[in-house]
């Protein structure tokens, strides 16, 4: 296992986790027609897409996202489709210059969803974080239905301005957008309270109950409490937090959304949610929920070995090569990492240096 990088090990553990819960592997090509992404640009994490012209003249793109490809090929009717993937995607990130290759593992559950199926996805998200984070992680959950019920009836640009400020937990920003739009003070108060809420479900759910206006919000809250209850009963609620500053584009996401964090990584490693609206936009009837784990950041958490190997075996030109080979082989059989060479390689460190024919050698 030592030869594997952290992201490879994590990828294996996650795929095993999903397989054991009955999810099937999903393989796909590295390219898709560019059209697919143009039509759904705001679903993507970044709008930049690497393109090239295929031999038949069609404009193609290196996949910036996996979910769109899976949804495109989702079959209609009859039960659920549960799939997982492990793929590279290509996109820019706001904090870096240029395109990057990002290794992503995740799963999607599509079709006639129910509370169990949705709860299973949330549970697998928390188990994924447990598997890669070694027990210390947080899984934040929000519900777009609850937020959109509060924002109902507002102009499109006011709504998106409010969502942006909500995402920044910016109470003074929310107040100034509301004031400019002439919205009721009650709305501003409610949104500010929602923005600053952060805590475990047992603490936050009762506060939300006091904020419910109308059936849409009540339905969203019931779903959220149902999911939290399921997590509780599976013993996975300890690291669950409710946070409504996680916001996503409403034209794609409809229900619960969630993000996972590990301490020491400055941005989230897991993102997912319920995206029935995307299904509808792509002409599918069912619901869909899923998440992706970004494995590229994990190398930051790895502790680097300060040695490049256990033993440096130094020999001379005059030494018998067969005898050097025997000596090296003996040490390797003992489970040590051995590098044999005539002179010490520059810049590399070894726990022990053995001169052939002296000390341990003969």
């Amino acid at each position: 296992m030592d030869i594997m990088r952290g992201e490879e090990r994590a990828g294996l553990r996650l795929r095993e986790l999903y397989r054991r819960h009955g999810y099937l592997p999903y393989r796909m090509s590295k390219f898709e027609p560019y059209d697919l992404y143009v039509r759904n640009k705001s679903f993507l994490v970044s709008e930049d897409i690497l393109t090239f012209t295929d031999t038949d003249g069609r404009l193609m793109a290196l996949k910036p996202d996996v979910t769109l490809s899976i949804v495109k090929n989702a079959r209609e009717g009859g039960g659920l489709q549960k799939v997982y993937y492990h793929e590279h995607v290509y996109r820019t990130s706001p904090a870096a210059v240029g395109y990057r290759e990002i290794l992503q593992t995740g799963l999607e559950c599509m079709g006639d969803l129910d509370l169990f199926a949705e709860g299973e996805v949330l549970y697998l998200a928390s188990e994924s974080l447990e598997a890669i984070g070694g027990g210390d992680y947080l899984l934040d959950v929000s519900h777009m239905g609850f937020v959109s019920a509060l924002l109902a009836g507002l102009e499109e640009d006011v709504r998106s301005a409010l969502l942006r400020e909500l995402g920044r937990k910016n109470a003074s920003g929310i107040r100034s957008v509301c004031a400019q739009a002439g919205a009721a003070k009650e709305l501003a108060d409610g949104l500010c309270r929602l923005a600053l809420l952060y805590g475990p479900p047992a603490e936050v759910l009762p506060v939300l109950e006091g904020m419910v206006r109308g059936p849409e919000a009540a339905g969203a809250l019931a779903e959220l409490s149902g999911l939290c209850g399921l997590m509780e009963s599976r013993g996975a609620a300890k690291r669950l937090r409710l946070d409504f500053s996680i916001v996503n584009d409403m034209s794609y996401y409809s229900g619960v959304i969630f993000r996972g964090y590990l301490p020491g990584l400055a941005s989230g490693v897991l993102a997912g949610g319920r995206y029935d609206n995307l299904m509808r936009r792509m002409g599918k009837t069912g619901g869909a929920v899923g998440f992706a784990v970004y494995l590229d950041q994990l190398e930051r958490l790895e502790k680097k070995d300060s040695f490049d190997g256990d033993i440096l075996l130094l020999y001379n030109k005059e030494d018998d090569p067969a005898a050097v080979a025997r000596e090296a082989e003996k040490l390797i059989r003992q489970g040590r990492v051995v590098r044999a060479e005539r002179q010490a390689p520059a810049g590399l460190r070894y726990r022990d240096v053995i001169r052939f024919g002296e000390g341990g050698g003969r």
Binding site: R168, L265, G268
Partner: protein
Amino acid sequence: MELLNVALPKGRLGEKVYGLLKAAGYPCPAIEEENRKLIFENPEAGVRYFWVKPSDVAIYVERGAADIGVAGKDILLEYGPDVYELADLGLGKCRMCVAAKKDFRDSADRLLRVATKFPHIAARYYSAQSREIDIIKLNGSIEIAPILGLSDVIVDIVETGKTLLENDLEPRETIVPISARLIANKVSYKFKHEQIAALCERLEARKNP
């Protein structure tokens, strides 16, 4: 408990902010001594302060090297860092303005040349008006640009308007009011939630006693 890492903007604003934090119960005697150190700790108050260039505060916070920090709204609007904006500290108040020479007459049928340190803010402001502009990015002494004919107008921060006046310029339009904001790294906010929430509460209590 882990210390809360606080990035302060070097300069007058940073000193005012430190004064506010000190009064709110986060003093750090070492920082008040005259020396050239950049990092100061007070484990009893649970804080570690460091001074950075004002325009870099948001970067330290966004990348998690600092848990919280204080940055001007101008910087947040210009760079759009992915951080929480937890409080308006009401310090360093000024406004982002369009200013021009007193005798400048704008006509909408000409390409407007705009000199500024804030190209994103300027571009967004004029594109909302569907106005075509030529942005000239400068790093300082913006006021000189219209005088030398480098630009028609400038987009810059105006505090009292004195500098403008002395250079025969005047503010024409206010784009947005500016003040210092308390910002937090999104992941730190979650893992150090109690510490950060307590700090916000104590700051808020000082603002409205």
